[in-house]
């Protein structure tokens, strides 16, 4: 569905992405892992056209989109929902206005219909009765849920999650992970989750990819990825994932755990 081909991006002399190749299949939940600053969030911004790649191509449903004009890009963006790291809710608006923003901007729906959609999306993320609150009145977890409801409002084909559990307590993290998995099952939507939280990664992924030094160094299902013999990947998994998620009898993990 989305194809990232040989993408490079340089910031201030540092190659953040260095010929990255990545395929995202329709209906899957791909978790992109990597150390802080390895270019995971930059990848999402390049896919959504927020920043331009220095070279390489991005394909979306058979169309090359990296050089798309802004008007066409804006139309394409309606197929993409994004949950930002900070939720990025508009603080001058209420929760309901935030969720209805895209509907208000891009459709002729009446207020009643928009209210109905807002209520429906809020119940999808297990939130009710917060329509009239301002983002400042919400907790971190609630903000993420509202951000997710806003991302779902236009019924996107792809949802991009930028560090969905960063800054949340463990209980809320687990709830958000559960929500991502539930939404994937219920809506059959394609999801790309960027995270360095291994608990989150193993909870939601149907496929995982690891970026290091601006390139993909591993790719596969959660079961496959544990068995890939790569020290950087295995360190990342062992230091990051809680024991209850990993099968510590796995020979590959045992091997790296012993080092």
């Amino acid at each position: 569905m989305i194809s990232v081909r040989k993408v490079t991006k340089n910031f201030g002399g540092k190659n953040v992405l260095n010929g990255l190749d990545l395929e995202i299949q329709r209906g899957e939940t791909l978790v992109v892992m990597g150390q802080s600053g390895c270019g995971k969030s930059v990848l999402l911004k390049i896919i959504t056209g927020l920043i331009a790649a220095d070279s390489g191509e991005i394909w979306f449903d058979g169309t090359e989109i990296s050089n798309l004009k802004s008007k066409k890009m804006n139309v394409l963006r309606r197929k993409i929902g994004m949950l930002f790291q900070s939720a990025a809710l508009f603080d001058s608006m209420t929760v309901a206005e935030n969720i209805a923003f895209m509907l208000d901007q891009h459709t002729d729906l009446g207020k009643q219909e928009m209210h109905k959609i807002v209520d429906e999306k809020l119940s999808l993320v297990d939130l009710e009765g917060v329509q009239d609150l301002r983002p400042a009145e919400l907790s971190g977890g609630m903000r993420k849920r509202v951000g997710l409801a806003r991302a779902l409002a236009f019924e996107p084909e792809v949802i991009l999650y930028d560090e969905p559990t960063t800054g949340l307590d463990p209980v809320t993290c687990t709830e958000i992970n559960q929500l991502i998995s539930d939404l994937h099952e219920r809506l059959q939507v394609t999801s790309v989750v960027v995270t360095h939280d291994m608990h989150s990664a193993f909870s939601v992924a149907t496929r995982m990819a690891m970026i290091h030094d601006g390139k993909k160094i591993a790719d596969g299902s959660p079961d496959e990825i544990i068995n890939i013999d790569n020290p950087i990947l295995q360190q990342f998994i062992l230091f990051g994932a809680p024991d209850q998620i990993l099968n510590m009898e796995n020979p590959m993990l045992k091997r790296y755990l012993g080092r």
Binding site: F11, G12, G13, K45, T48, G49, L50, S70, N74, V75, R77, R78, I80, M82, F84, Q85, S86, A88, L89, F90, D91, F101, M102, Q105, H106, F154
Partner: protein, 274 residues
């Protein structure tokens, strides 16, 4: 970009430093003009969101009215007092009304209004937009298929351009009223004579010049405020917002002064308007 220029500056000699600084300044001016032209293009592109414009007109216009009137009033009073004191030794204190009227209409009305709005509105636009930038709200707008220039800059730009001349009219009237009260109460000048002199010296051309200046100042304040708000990097944080806001107020004030000189030269010297 900021990080790169800092790195470059740290490893460069003095002539290179000047070159880098000059390059940065020219690059900023280029980016500011790009945003300005994008704004002009977006003004004429549908959809036209009048609700956003009305909100900004109220925020910028109605909420600034009191402070603009008070500033204009006291500026007029100072002009009246100073004018009378300076003109009296030459026995031409009767010209104080002309002095107040011409100064306020052609120069101080639009200038004081612009200064007040640069501090009050220009800085607030920068603070709001730069906070939106660092909290990724502007990125969110773009991802949702909404052009941030159209949604955020155009209403502020139009509202500033419309409200500055409107507020200038109020500030000019307040200025003349201030001058009137100062000289009538403090120096026993005949009030009827003062008003007659004002009437004789208040030309439609002068009012037009005042409004042209005010509109230009309004555009400059909005353009600088929006550019400074948009130009902050996402990693700038609270410190970046503070720096951008201060920078916006300073650049707006300097731009107003430079623009005032250019407009005075063009309108009075080249076009020969009175």
């Amino acid at each position: 970009m900021d990080q790169q220029s800092t790195t470059n500056e740290a490893s460069s000699g003095f002539p290179d430093l000047i070159k880098i600084r000059l390059h940065n300044v020219l690059s900023e001016i280029g980016q500011a003009f790009t945003l300005f032209f994008q704004t002009l293009i977006q003004i004429f592109r549908p959809p036209f969101q009048f609700d956003l414009l009305v909100k900004q007109l109220l925020l910028i216009g109605f909420n600034s009215l009191a402070v603009v009137i008070v500033s204009g009033f006291f500026t007029g009073m100072v002009l009246g007092v100073q004018g009378y004191i300076q003109l009296k030794p030459y026995a031409v204190e009767g010209s104080v009304a002309r002095f107040v009227c011409v100064s306020v209409v052609k120069e101080l009305g639009p200038m004081i209004t612009a200064f007040v709005l640069a501090g009050r509105i220009g800085a607030s636009i920068t603070a709001e937009l730069s906070t939106m930038k660092v909290t990724e709200q502007i990125d969110a707008l773009e991802v949702m298929g909404t052009n941030p220039v159209k949604y955020l800059v155009v209403p502020r730009f139009l509202a500033c351009s419309m409200m500055l001349p409107t507020l200038t009219i109020y500030s000019t009237f307040a200025g003349i009223a201030g001058g009137f009260i100062a000289v009538v109460v403090l120096f026993d000048v005949n009030g009827y004579f003062f008003l007659l002199e004002v009437q004789k010296n208040l030309f439609i051309g002068s009012v037009l010049i005042s409004l042209i200046k005010a509109t230009s100042f309004g555009m400059a304040i909005a353009a600088v405020g929006c550019y400074k708000g948009f130009s902050i990097s996402t990693a700038g944080g609270a410190e970046g917002v503070g720096t951008a806001t201060t920078g916006s107020a300073v650049i707006s004030l300097i731009t107003i002064l430079v623009l005032d000189f250019v407009l005075n030269h063009v309108l009075f010297n080249i076009l020969g308007l009175v």
